[in-house]
Amino acid sequence: MAFLELSEEQVMVQDMARDFAKNELAPHGERWDHEGWIDDAVIAQMGELGLLGMVVPEEWGGASVDYVSYALAVEEISAGDGAVGAIMSIHNSVGCGPILKYGTDAQKEKWLTELAAGRVIGCFCLTEPQAGSEANNLKTRAVLKEGFWTLNGSKQFVSNGKRAKLAIVFAVTDPDLGKKGISAFLVPTNTPGFIVNRVEKKLGIRGSDTCAITLDNCVIPEENMLGPRGKGLAIALSNLEGGRIGIAAQALGIARAAFESALKYSKERIQFGVSLIDHQSVANFLADMQTQINAARLLILQAASMKERGLPCLSEASQAKLFASEMSEAVCSKAIQIYGGYGYLEDYPVERYYRDARITQIYEGTSEIQRLVIARALKDIDF
């Protein structure tokens, strides 16, 4: 990566993540995809290395690493296994993030150190069957009675829903206040009434559990409210930049793994007397793939660098996520094409990369929402 000047620390973070992904993740990706579960021991090890609390400050047990290092690390981990990359990005951004920003000292003491160390995995319960992009249209209800909140409702597509020990749940506390009537709650997942209804069967990132959750008279103490009453929607949308940078990096890592695999194959496979890479069609595929991957990385690191410097970067983060996710599907598809018939078999990893990549255009804000954000920002710019 000679075109980028990385600091000593950034290189060390990238090297460690790459070595870890190569040795501990890549050899198991296929098995985790089949079994639908990533080994707990691997997630625990990532926690010990600091990979699950990357931007949490040292005082709360985090690694306090800069955002560029974070993006580089998510890319490397995702190149090892896309599902692990999903868990890492989601836990860092919407697992640790809300408590870091809005938690009371008591809440931070109870949860943040555990989250940063990966001893507790967090999950984010916002989406409902009828509310996806329209995040404010929630039906889950929270009612206060004698110092306790009772939660009732359904949550959809909750990543880490089964693995998590802590859930951040968004519910309507004041139905008459619309967007300002939603609040956030910290719900330990072993609370009676917090039910993992179903672990979904997905196209990809199968090692990462995605769950339908039911809240059935789930009772939590008053002090489990996160942030002020009515601030729930703002809290839910408070880490879009970090979340989008993370998922963009995940998409990039998956694409890079597919590209490197296809590149290697193109040098070994011979047809019509020459290696595939010596056939112009294939050579052109690879040239385009490399260019797209490098372009995505620069978009991601630009957004990460702006976030690190405290500059608003919502449009840049959205651009990175939009570009990297669409690029990833295209690159993975070309990788299968280069492998030909073999690319369609489970014996080779490219079909899994292709399946893993697809979700990155949907979660953490669909491509359509990203375009909406970018276009909206353009309305405010005059050239």
């Binding site: 620390e9 060390m12 090297d15 600091g50 690694a63 306090s64 690493v65």
Partner: protein, 249 residues
């Protein structure tokens, strides 16, 4: 007990190097550089000895251009306490490095000096041995196990005949082999802590050491391409080829 660990910045083991067209060496422009893998094992062993309460301080040392600071920073992130860079742009050979290490080891009063058995760029396998000789210290090379107790080091060495275990009185020089340990992944908090650990830079002239090379490289070339195998009709033909062509029986 102070441990001095020598680390070398080399081409990363994953890189496929190419010979320069003028055959003066290999092209390392823009190539990824890393800590020599055997030196990683040496740092890991030293840090484990500190964690076990046997060593009090681990000092990492390297000799070479300014960029070697990156390698030393990695050593600090693994767990070394401080680092020394003997800075020079001159090409260093094992004897020069051994002289440098001898000078620093004596100044620091190191009770144990750990090195990788060889560097993966020149494969010399000389520095540790020369260092022990310069300091008149006992040496144990190719260590696959090290036990320190009562002022002695018990070292198991990997030798052609198998394993040999010897006892050395400290101070001593030990060079590491592959099976001594598996280096840890550096944790992110330790990468951040390493930023604050000191790296002292000195010049070889300040130490009064003559590091001029004694060897001149005449030519570097690629190894001969491996030719295709040959199918033989039967065992008799195989034996005939092994005897008369390959000349191995």
């Amino acid at each position: 007990m102070k441990i001095l660990v020598a680390v070398k910045r080399v081409v990363d083991y994953n890189v496929k190097v190419r010979v320069k067209s003028d055959q003066s060496g290999v092209d390392i422009a823009n190539v990824k550089m890393s800590m020599n893998p055997f030196d990683e094992i040496a740092i890991e062993e030293a840090v484990r000895l500190k964690e076990a309460g046997i060593a009090t301080e681990v000092i990492a040392i390297s000799a070479g251009p300014t960029a070697c600071q990156e390698t030393l920073r990695t050593a600090l992130a693994i767990g070394a306490d401080r680092a020394i860079l003997v800075e020079t742009e001159l090409s260093l050979q094992p004897l020069a490095v051994a002289k440098i290490l001898a000078n620093i080891a004596q100044k620091e009063g190191a009770q144990l000096i750990l090195l990788g058995k060889q560097a993966i760029d020149d494969d010399s396998n000389q520095t540790g041995q020369m260092l022990a000789s310069l300091l008149d210290l006992p040496q144990a090379t190719f260590a696959s196990k090290v036990v320190i107790a009562d002022g002695k080091a018990q070292v198991t060495r990997e030798v052609d005949g198998g394993l040999e275990t010897i006892s050395l009185s400290l101070p001593a020089v030990i060079t590491t082999d592959l099976r001594l340990n598996e280096p840890r992944y550096v944790t992110l908090p330790n990468i951040m802590k390493a930023k604050k650990k000191p790296i002292d830079v000195v010049k070889p002239e300040e130490l009064g050491i003559d590091i001029a090379p004694r060897l001149t490289t005449l030519k570097v070339q690629e190894p001969a391409q491996r030719s295709a195998g040959v199918m033989v009709a039967d065992v008799a033909a195989l034996v005939e080829k092994l005897k008369n062509e390959a000349k191995v029986i």
